[in-house]
Structures are given as C-alpha cells and as structure tokens.
Symmetry: none
Subunit: 244 residues, 2 copies
Amino acid sequence: MRKIALIEDDSDLYALLKYNLEKEGFTLVGTQTGKGAIELCRRERPDLILLDIMLPDSDGLDICKGIRSHPELAHIPVIFLTARASETDRIVGLELGANDYIVKPFFIRELIARIKIQFRSQTTATRLLKAGGLELDRSSCRVRLHNQTLSLTATEFRLLEFLMSRPGVVFSREQLLDAVWGHDRAVTDRTVDVYILRLRQKTEADPTNPLLIRSVRGFGYSFNESELPSTAADQPNPVVVAVQ
Amino acid sequence: MRKIALIEDDSDLYALLKYNLEKEGFTLVGTQTGKGAIELCRRERPDLILLDIMLPDSDGLDICKGIRSHPELAHIPVIFLTARASETDRIVGLELGANDYIVKPFFIRELIARIKIQFRSQTTATRLLKAGGLELDRSSCRVRLHNQTLSLTATEFRLLEFLMSRPGVVFSREQLLDAVWGHDRAVTDRTVDVYILRLRQKTEADPTNPLLIRSVRGFGYSFNESELPSTAADQPNPVVVAVQ
DNA sequence: CACAATTGTAATGTGGTTGTAACACGCAAC
DNA sequence: GTTGCGTGTTACAACCACATTACAATTGTG
C-alpha cells in the first residue's frame, strides 16, 4: 500500500486525517513538528507528503524547499494543507514545487481524491491482466507464465489480450476476427483455430487438455474465468449446455 | 511552446484567459461550445485542456469522459474550471479523470501556476534518468555511458529521453513520432527505425544484440526496464523452446 | 560561401510471422 | 456402427516487419 507522510501540528486535524486516510487504505507516518520532517521522509521514503505550512517550530515552505533540493526525495509529490488562502500564498506554495495546494477548511473526500490523482499516473489498474498463473502486461507487451516470460507474436498477443480482458465470455470466430484482425479483414475463420492452438502450445501445461482457453463446440472460444485446477468441474458446463 | 485547449462558453472569461495565457507564452486553441471539443483536441493535440463543466450545448463531464476513453487523447491533462463548488461536484470531477478542479472565481495567476504544475510533472520531475549504465541528464542535455560522455544529435537525444522516461513501456512508431517529432510531422514511420539504429550504435556494446532498446515485433520499441547484465537468463526460454 | 553535421527517405536483404490448405481426430445424431 | 460436422494439428509458401546501408536534402557554422 501507499505510504503517506503527514506533517501537521494540530492534533485534532492530525488524528482526523490519520483515521480517514488509513480507512482509505493508506499507510501513515508523520510528525506534529516541522524539525524532524526531512529526517522522517529520508527514513520512511513516503510516496506522498502532506505538509502544513504554519508549523510552530519551522516553516512548511522551507521544508518543501528542502525536499525538492534533496536528490533522493525530490520526486515525491507534496501537497500543502494550509489556512493561508491569499493569492500570493497560493502562488508561492505552488511555485515552490508543490504538486497541489489545499486551503483549510477542506473536504476530506476531496483531499483523498487529490491524493489519488498524484498516484494515478503510476497506477497499473488496467495495465495488467492476471489469471491462472498467466500475467499479461499491456504496456510492455509481455506475457509471463509462472513468472517465466514467453515470447508471443503480435497476433497471438492481441488474441490472448482480448480473451483475457473478458474472462468467461464465449466469442465466435467471427467476433474474434473483428476484434483482433479488424473489421476489414480478409481472413478465413479457421485461422482463429490455428492461433488458439499456438497460444495453447505456449501457455498450457498440457495442450491436449486445455485449462486456460476453452473450446465451446458450435460457438467459439473463451478464456476460463476461474483458475480451477480440477477438470472435473469444468466438463459439464451448465451455462452453455443449457443454451444448446 | 505548449498548446492549451480552452473550452469555455463565457465570452468575457474566454477572452480574459486567452489574453493572459498567451501573455504567459502558451499557444491557445479553443471553442465556446462543447460539441466540437473532442474534435478540436483530435485535430490540434493540445498539451493541456481547460474545460468548463456547464456548457450550453453539452456537459463538460461527458467531454472529459470522452477524452479519457479516447486512446490518442487519454494522456492529456484536463483541468476543470467551474462554478460548481459543492463537495460532490468536486469529487465527481476529480474522479472522472481530471487532473485538477478549480472553482470560479479563481485567481488567474493561480491557474497559471497550476497549469505549469501539469507540465512540470511530465518533464522536470526527474532531471536525471539512469538505467543500465546509461545516464541521461535533462538539464545539461548530456548522455553518459559508463561515465563516458556520448555525443547524440538533438533528435537522438529526444528519442532516448522519451524512451527512458517510461522504461518498459512499448511505444508504436506512431506514438514515438507524435512525442518526438510532433504530431504535425511529415515523416515516414520508417525513420524511427533509423534513429533506433543510430542510438543502438552509440549506446549498445553489441548493436546486433541490443540490451537497452528492445524491439517488439509488431508493436514498436521500448527501453528495457530491468538492467539485466547477463543475457544467459534471457536466451534459453525453456517453455517456448520446448514447444517449438 | 564552403564545409560539416544532421536529417529523413529509399532500397536491400533476411528471418520471423502469417494465413491457408490438407489431413487427422472426436463428438453427436441417426 | 456409421455418417457428418466441427475442431485439433501439421506443414508450407507468401508475406511482412525489421535491421542495415547508402544517399540526397536540409540545416547549421566557421
């Protein structure tokens, strides 16, 4: 989970933020004084820093400057939390290298949303598809099986990506051709069979008894949504049988 | 210079912003209606989008959703400008994928500062890019390989910088041309190949067996995220070899 | 202006990828 | 069992994507 450093002298606000941010799933570290702030960040290496400007023993602006000039910490996002709302205060804060400037009083949920924005760019939400020991990384175009990278061709990759992105759903050869080969294809639908075979040879432990990519006779293919190790429960597929 | 798209129906505010942002050195494109917003962005490829929420003919939230779901535009920062100040409005706006949410009335200089933050995080976030014995310094435009300075041309540098800034991510020739040559390019995509070759000749110990810049057949190129020193672990892929 | 460096294109070769045909197999219905 | 249809599997030829070279056009520089 993401670690957030909170530097805030007001005990009530500190406790309130700690409670809400931890409820949100973040790990919290912090101080209520400004002196130890840089030291804390160096030790804890937080993923984000929430920084009050008016601290009893030091200035939040100076702390921000210190973070930005510290090569190991310079990349960490800083969000100011402050009661100083004047135009000049805002400009100074933002131009000092902060990533956001939030004026007290603020909505806790807005703060959380703004924290998430700082993390969002790095998120791997839709980037990674995982199922049954198989891991498909869209951004690096890599597929790993039990942590071992396999080399797939472009068409194999796109086909697997499409199937894995909608696990459990059965697609006809027609649909797969549209999705993977494009609408303006000039390709026989039997080509899909060959690619399914190639994928099985590369991904399945036993290609004769496929567990990941399922053939649905008369309909097409689908990627198994559950990583059931036993094949017994797989054979009498209730849904499809009912349809047939 | 950076190009900003402004979608704002209020003529007075539109003119005011246009004046101030152009004075700041930004190029401005824009519409005062919501309908053509996506089309405008597709054509102009702005570096940032300022978006009013309450437009006479459409909803700014929908436009933002459209931008985020459009693969060519999804990465562009969006800042909402709106009079809707309630907690719910803010949360919805921010969670829709916007990068900032500014409530009217606002300080022009604060807006400018917040715009600059969006650009800063993309470029200056890390001044020094290091990987695999390679060191790229953005501020001095120098690249060193094992502490030996190499002389790269401007285009070579920009291409390497872009690849190194997102290690592991595969970019199509199209994307590389957009990012390095500019989207209003008049360049064949084969040109990318030549520049990749030139970079490899300057950076790779053995250009025939590149370790830093990876070719991903059918997709494009990427900078290797892991600095694997030994090639042995890569070559004899047991799973695939066994199958083939 | 001459010269060098950079830039982008075209042409070439090569090896992996692609899609098809052909054949083998198995499931289902009669 | 037999028949027919849908699928698994193999082999192969055409093709495409990429690496590489050479070169013309452009830019920058003394």
